[in-house]
Symmetry: C2
Subunit: 408 residues, 2 copies
């Protein structure tokens, strides 16, 4: 089997952890597998470098920022290669340029355009181990670029695609994706398998285990991602295409996010362009609007409600205070004690009544639903924050996700 492994900053953060990581690589080679590795910078290193840059300037030149920050992975890649070599393994580090990662020229948030890694395939076939710097590449002019925070996941998937790997193993400090947060529901279960589409929904809902871009890329090229723990070498969660043979439950998991604040503009005169008058200034301020609900117009007026991250609540309210008068809203209301709960599952497509069941379960628990938004494989409700645990537990049970309790 040909495997691309990705390790995050904590897996190369100390020499002890580097040795543990090398153990895993060595194990795969001993099982006869071909291995390439993608690494992040040692934990803390990227922040150390950024701090240096921001001491020089409040707005350091992004080209230089990238050249600087990219060194973090070069150091950790070299250290891991050294450690592997002490074990007699032919391991060699490659930075973005050396590994053939071509990107566009958007410094600080570059996108990969091509990975020219045929020379790494040859090495893997000889059971040499390329240790590649994550998070970076070079543009067409040879400038060093970085992919933005968490970009190493994307690097790993892109490399796996380029070297025609069978799987991209992403090692992290959790052992997989759970049906919901085990801190809230003790009977949450680790999923053996999840579809790319579901993983995207989980990722966008704040399950910070995989960068969204990496999942999109894997989906496009159908590259299975094995999300697993570097502490405990048991199988984790395989992120892959939907398997038709699988008997699927209606939903595969329940996600939530407390980082929500809700803002409502009442009775706005409803005419074309009104939405852009509201959301234009929010976008210009760099604030990400999440859920948006607009009621059916009544007597030429409509209400608009939307959510933003809680940290942006104060600023958004300030912007709205200015706008609401200009556009003739009758009232402006805000609430920063709301939360979002979602049920997710590709099974939803073929199971009618998931939404209906969700609303019944919440009603039975006395949870008032403030907003609803749906996609093909997800239903999200906005509720009062204080009901989050109650709602998650009730939904997890009602949709049959609770693990069987072991007989004791």
């Amino acid at each position: 089997m040909r495997i691309v492994q990705k390790y995050g900053g904590t897996s190369v953060g100390t020499l002890e952890r580097i040795r543990k990581t090398a153990d895993i690589v060595q194990g795969e080679l001993e099982r006869g597998n071909q291995v390439a590795v993608v690494v992040s910078a040692m934990s803390g290193e990227t922040n150390r470098l950024l701090a240096l840059a921001f001491e020089v300037s409040d707005a350091p030149a992004t080209r230089e920022l990238d050249a600087m920050v990219a060194t973090g992975e070069q150091v950790s890649a070299a250290l891991l290669a050294m450690e592997l070599q002490t074990r007699g393994i032919k391991a060699y580090s490659f930075n973005g340029a050396q590994a053939g990662f071509k990107t566009d020229s958007s410094f600080v948030r570059a996108r990969i355009t091509d990975v020219q890694s045929d020379h790494l395939i040859e090495r893997m076939e000889r059971f040499e181990v390329p240790v590649v710097t994550g998070f970076q590449g070079i543009d067409a002019s040879g400038n060093i670029t970085t992919l933005g925070r968490g970009g190493s996941d994307t690097s790993a998937v892109a490399l796996a695609i380029a070297v025609k790997a069978d799987v991209c193993d992403i090692y992290t400090d959790v052992d997989g994706i759970y049906t919901t947060d085990p801190r809230i529901v003790s009977r949450a279960q680790k999923m053996d398998q999840i579809s790319f589409e579901e993983m995207l929904e989980f990722a966008s809902l704040g399950a910070k285990v995989l960068q969204t871009r990496s999942v999109e890329l894997a989906m496009r090229y159908n590259m299975p991602i094995h999300l697993r723990s570097s502490f405990d070498l048991v199988p984790g969660t395989m992120v892959t295409t939907e398997d038709e043979k699988m008997e699927r439950a209606a939903i595969s998991g329940v996600a939530y996010n407390r980082d929500e604040a809700k803002i409502t503009l009442k009775e706005i005169p409803d005419h074309p362009g009104i939405a852009s008058s509201v959301f234009g200034p929010v976008a210009e301020a760099g604030i990400n609007v999440d859920v948006i609900v607009q009621n059916v117009s009544e007597k030429g007026h409509t209400d608009i409600t939307f959510t933003v991250p809680r940290s942006d609540y104060a600023q958004t309210m300030k912007i709205m205070a200015g706008i609401s008068k200009d556009i003739g809203a009758s009232d402006l209301k805000g609430d920063n004690t709301v939360a979002k709960v979602s049920v997710i599952g590709v099974g939803m497509r073929s199971h009618a009544g998931v939404a209906q069941k969700m609303f019944q379960v919440l009603a039975a628990e006395g949870v008032n639903i403030q907003m609803i938004t749906t996609s093909e494989i997800k239903i999200t409700v906005v509720i009062d924050e204080k009901y989050v645990e109650l709602a998650v537990r009730a939904l997890h049970g009602a949709f049959g996700l609770d693990r069987e309790q072991a007989a004791t």
Copy 2:
């Protein structure tokens, strides 16, 4: 004028120093000059990285060591470029690969084979400032290589040659080369100019201001080096080809080195191969032998005396104790309280009697000469360490090097 400037680790070691360095670059641009900069790593950074590597392994893979250590300059180059950009100067960092530094594949001590920097010339002509990482390059296979300690001087000279600069300004914490150590002779003078050949002799005598390789390279391509202080922007010492118009004193300076130990093998049977029997094992132990004197053979026997750095004295004596019996020496003697004093000057070529005068001066001071060795532009004597100051002062005065005392 087109200038390549080189700054060492202390000049980019703190943000305050980076600003000072940017001041100097800015000053040259304002005078209408074209500037490229070569930088070392921030002081302490190379050692930090090496320490990390040696924690992984006692003998880390040298390819990986180079990939790791080379990041130090990439960080300082980016920081300086950022600082220059905050002043509206178009400055861009370039690592070894980007700047076109090609080397052989001798990791840790690579030699530059070619510098393909035409793209930097174009930038300089537009008054952009390339900030190039010193100390590194890539080999023909694209592996990252480093030039060995102090290699940044060599990088700077090589870049100056490649971009056809008028001069290579090497900024350091001293303001030039002195006729002798001002701590010993208060009337020592800063030399305005010194020939490459003399500089080579000074460098090999422990004047640690310029790496020998960089002087050799500058000499081969006739690239003037301006050695100057980054603290005080007065002219320093220009290292250049010998100028026939210059009225030259017989000697240009007096150098000394206390780091010497002397070892004598007495009455060795003199036959072909005897020198290699003595020095082979010393070389194998990685010890640099400096002065070697072998007396004329007498009755088939000869004495060999040589010097080594004082830190290698004990180990060398141990090696000699083993050898001296094998080769039939009658006695083995050692002395680690000797020192070396040299007079240097291209003027020596046309001034007869320099050696004679040197010996007279030392005799008049009661200094016994233990060994003598000469080159075309240098005479070195080995003397008892306790006479070093006396000898240096006497020679400095006798050869007319004392600065005129200011009338007060």
